[in-house]
């Protein structure tokens, strides 16, 4: 089963550049996600790989073969559309058999394949139904089954769960991953939902404004974001502005706005540089009153949101910055609104980024 590679791929729609010099390699049998906000070019990239649109420049390889001039029907891909695009005038059975038929398999063979894939998605009893009679979850599974029946080696999924209810969505995403893995397929899954991408992908490419900004496993992206945007887009981060005052061999010291000094993990920076310190909400320890600790920030509880599993505090610091802190709602003590609290965090669980030229808001905007 093949890998997928794109080299310097560029796509323009009129004056708008949807993709700019994108390079990416999806490994054989990998479950790969393209993650990014709407309009970032992720669907465009997927459609280019499928051959549904043509690039303005660059190369696309499936396996060893360069395919950018190959029409979609000859690329051996399976595409699952966001709207499913099940043919409304055909039954489930005819939809599933469509691929084998247009590829001119003999009928017995086509039927065997049809039965196999319907078995796989557990919808054998609905084969006489028309798409209009199925629930969203069923249509989704038929769309996958149809792509598989056509002999796809590569599964391209364009927001495949976007039209489903939250509950169904959570179930089906694991089903799709399992199917792809069981059948040794390479899968590229487009989504704007980071938790979806994190929970099912082997690797994720984060995209923004027509470019890929970081590729990595979910853990890598979460633990070692390479820029403010990824730190903000994957999971959640508090951003505290400050200036580097000291660099030692093992860490650096930052003076935050308002004068409070903290130590953070080592990063490529110089003394006197303006930086942004990123700390995830669950990294903080929170305690009532003023506590003497390294990397401590003092403030008052300004807002409390109970979210079931976790409780979320917004703490207003003395320098008027707000910091979000997330704590397990059952395992820890609760703090009242207006309580004075101290927060502290381990230096090695923080990230330091140079202050962006365009400003922080612009840098993390989607």
């Amino acid at each position: 089963m093949p890998d997928v590679r794109v080299v310097n791929l560029t796509k323009k729609f009129g004056d708008v550049t949807a993709l700019e010099n994108v390079n990416m390699q999806v490994r054989d049998k990998e479950y790969f996600a393209l993650l990014g906000p709407s309009g970032c070019g992720k669907t465009t990239l997927l459609r280019l790989i499928a051959g549904l649109i043509e690039p303005n420049g660059g190369e696309i390889y499936i396996g060893e073969k360069r395919v950018d001039n190959v029409p979609p029907e000859d690329r051996e891909i399976g595409f699952v559309f966001q709207t499913f695009a099940l043919f409304p005038h055909m039954t489930v059975w005819d939809n599933v058999l469509y691929g084998p038929k247009v590829k001119n398999f003999n009928l017995a063979e086509a039927k065997t394949i049809g039965n196999e894939v319907l078995e796989l998605v557990k919808l054998h009893e609905r084969l006489d139904a028309y798409p209009g009679e199925l629930s969203g979850g069923m249509m989704q599974r038929i769309a996958v089954a149809r792509a598989l029946a056509a002999g796809a080696k590569i599964l391209l999924l364009d927001e495949p769960l976007g039209q489903l209810d939250a509950k169904v969505r959570n179930e089906i995403r694991y089903e799709i991953r399992k199917m792809a893995k069981d059948l040794n397929l390479t899968a590229i899954h487009v989504t704007h939902d980071q938790s979806e991408a994190m929970s099912i992908s082997d690797r994720i490419a984060v995209m923004r404004k027509g470019k890929i900004i970081q590729v990595g496993t979910p853990q890598e992206l979460y633990m070692k974001p390479n820029c403010l945007f990824v730190a903000h887009f994957i999971g959640e981060s508090n951003f505290l502005e400050g200036e580097v005052t000291e660099i030692t061999g093992k860490d650096i010291q930052i003076e935050l706005r308002g004068g409070c000094k903290v130590r953070a993990c080592i990063s490529e920076t110089k003394e006197g540089t303006r930086v942004v310190l990123a700390v995830r909400p669950e990294v903080f320890t929170i305690e009532q009153g003023i506590v003497e600790k390294e990397n401590a920030l003092v403030g008052k509880v300004d807002k409390i949101t109970f979210e079931g599993t976790v409780i979320r505090y917004v703490v207003r610091l003395e320098n008027k910055d707000n910091v979000v802190v997330i704590k397990s709602s059952m395992a820890e003590a609760w703090y009242e609104l207006g309580t004075e609290v101290t927060l502290w965090f381990p230096a090695d669980k923080s990230h330091v980024f140079p202050y962006p030229e365009a400003g922080l808001t612009e840098e993390i905007s989607v």
Binding site: A50, G51, L52, P71, P72, E73, D74, R75, I77, G78, F79, F81, T83, A85, L86, F87, P88, H89, D94, Y98, G99, K101, V102, K103, N104, R146, A147, A150, G151, L156
Partner: protein
């Protein structure tokens, strides 16, 4: 000040009325009553009052045979032409809706032109192009296509092709491309994707296009009469009988009998055919057993596509566009001769011409406005199912009937009814009724389709914000649909200006209300002796004026593209 106060009073009154159930239903019911009283029932009653005259036809087997042959010809031509339309229309619509070249928007506009040329002028144009020694025939040293059934078929193809293309382009633009893309990713080459996915999904539009072109072919009278020569189809037969009667060749009883007989058969047969299409259409399946890998692959890619597009363009230019506009040639020639000042000074045969133009455009305007007023409640009723699902669906079907009844039959039966029951009715009223009946389906259809596209949510939102139904209509529905409504109105106007069959049937001999197409037909058939230059100029002026008016309307109705 006073006027504004009065307007506000009116609006608040209408608002108050519109929220009363009784007032609302009164409007809907009266629109239905008007529809039955002025459009649906008079033609049926007209045939009924003259029903006994049919005996005349049974007494004269040669007349009956002639009528039946003519009607048979009508249906054969309509079926063949509609099929050719679909076959040629699909690649053309495909090219316009899917092609990437920017020249295609020009092609798109060109495709509408034959639709705008009044059919009588179109008929003469084709006659010149195919038949007279000035047109393409000059290359062959004689007449390439003599008058008769081939020329009638060419004519019908020319005027119905734009309609078919328009419907199919609309269908292809509305169609969700995702289906076709899905088919491609599953391994279908473009031709197979079209055959197995696109065409079954746009089947309703294919059927609608077929029905429209079929109906147009069955009804068209003026232009057909010009190019028919000795050949007769239904409308030409009715026209000939009428001329024989005016010329004193047949008795009134024979004329009425033949008209009733032919109209009745035309109406019954076309209703039967359309009912059949309506019932069988949805069941028609496109069989999909397998594919022909090599053939269909070859059909899909460049060479085949290029030759297909070339053939399509040749057909369009050579059979549709150039013949339709050929009349401008003698018209330009005429401008340089004494014919032109003669025309401008309205002497000789031109005295009637200018009056007929005025009558035509005035009639078109009156009918458009009346149709809008009468059709509006009907359109809302159909689009929003105001009277429940089944009655609204039934009305939706009934409204279409005038569309499928040949217009000359409609006109004849209509005039029988009104002249018999209300002899004092002025002829202009009859004309208005006849044109109203013919154009009514167009205006109702275009309005109801536009209303259906406005989501009910939007109306409901306005209601929750405090708007009364009348205000909702004026502030939400109308602004959102005005462009579609205006283009529907343009269609009605064009149709009325082109209308010949029903007009002839309604008018008495030497009526002052002869419309432009009627006058032109008389000139071409030499009922009124006219020279070729005169006819050319007459037809050319009609085309030119229609262009100017439509162009002005287009400017007004052009969508600004903000919503």
């Amino acid at each position: 000040m006073k006027r504004i106060a009065f307007q506000q009073k009116m609006i608040s009154l209408l608002n108050k009325l519109s929220s009363k159930k009784a007032a609302k239903y009164a409007v809907y019911v009266s629109s239905i009553v008007l529809f039955f009283a002025f459009i649906l029932l008079p033609p049926i009653l007209g045939i009924a009052v003259k029903g006994t005259t049919i005996q005349q036809v049974f007494d004269r087997p040669e007349l009956m045979e002639r009528a039946l042959t003519a009607i048979g010809n009508s249906f054969v031509i309509a079926i063949v032409v509609s099929m050719l339309d679909i076959v040629a229309g699909i690649p053309m619509a495909w090219l316009i809706s899917r092609g990437k070249s920017r020249w295609l928007s020009i092609l798109d506009t060109l495709a509408d032109i034959p639709f705008i040329v009044p059919t009588a002028a179109l008929g003469y144009s084709l006659l010149l192009f195919w038949n007279e020694p000035v047109g393409i025939s000059s290359l062959f040293g004689g007449s390439l296509v003599s008058t008769g059934w081939i020329l009638v078929m060419l004519l019908h193809f020319t005027f119905s092709f734009p309609v078919v293309v328009r419907v199919l382009v609309g269908a292809l633009l509305d169609y969700k491309m995702e289906y076709e893309r899905a088919s491609r990713t599953l391994g279908a080459v473009p031709f197979v994707a079209f055959r197995t996915v696109t065409s079954p999904i746009i089947k309703p539009s294919l059927i609608a296009a077929f029905v429209l072109s079929f109906a147009r072919s069955l009804s068209e009278t003026g232009a057909t009469f010009i190019v028919a020569g000795a050949f007769e189809n239904g409308p030409v037969f009715l026209q000939n009988i009428r001329n024989d009667f005016s010329g004193g060749l047949v008795s009134q009883a024979t004329y009425e009998g033949a008209t009733v007989f032919a109209s009745l058969i035309l109406i019954v047969a076309s209703c039967t055919i359309f009912a059949l299409i309506w019932v069988l259409g949805p069941r028609l399946k496109f069989p999909f057993k397998g594919i022909w890998p090599n053939a269909e692959r070859r059909l899909s890619y460049s060479k085949a596509a290029i030759s297909r597009n070339t053939v399509t363009l040749i057909v369009f230019f050579l059979i549709v566009l150039v013949p339709a506009l050929f009349v401008s040639l003698p018209a330009f020639q005429a401008v340089l001769t004494p014919v032109f000042p003669e025309a401008l000074s309205a002497t000789g045969i031109w005295s009637n011409y200018w009056q007929s133009l005025l009558v035509s455009y005035l009639l078109g305007a009156i009918v458009t406005v009346l149709g809008f007023v009468m059709g509006l409640p009907m359109a809302i009723l159909i689009a929003r199912r105001k009277l429940g699902k089944t009655p609204s669906a039934a009305i939706d079907i009934l409204v279409n009937i005038p569309l499928i009844v040949p217009s000359i039959a409609l006109g004849a039966s209509l005039s029988f009814f009104w002249k018999q029951s209300f002899p004092f009715m002025p002829e202009m009223m009859l004309l208005i009724f006849a044109h109203l009946a013919i154009t009514y389906p167009y205006i109702v259809k275009s309005m109801s389709a536009a209303f259906e596209r406005v989501s009910v949510d939007m109306e409901e939102a306005a209601r929750t914000l405090g708007a009364k139904p009348f205000s909702v209509f004026m502030t939400i529905v109308l602004p959102l649909t005005k462009y579609s409504i205006l283009s529907g109105a343009i269609m009605v106007f064009t149709r009325s200006v082109s209308e010949t069959g029903a007009t002839v049937a309604v008018l008495s001999a030497n009526s002052p209300f002869r419309t432009a197409p009627v006058v032109l037909v008389d000139w071409v058939r030499q009922v009124v002796p006219a020279s070729q230059l005169e006819i050319g100029l007459g037809a050319g002026l009609l085309v030119l004026l229609s262009f100017v008016i439509l162009f002005a309307l287009r400017l007004v109705t052009r969508r600004k593209g903000r919503y």
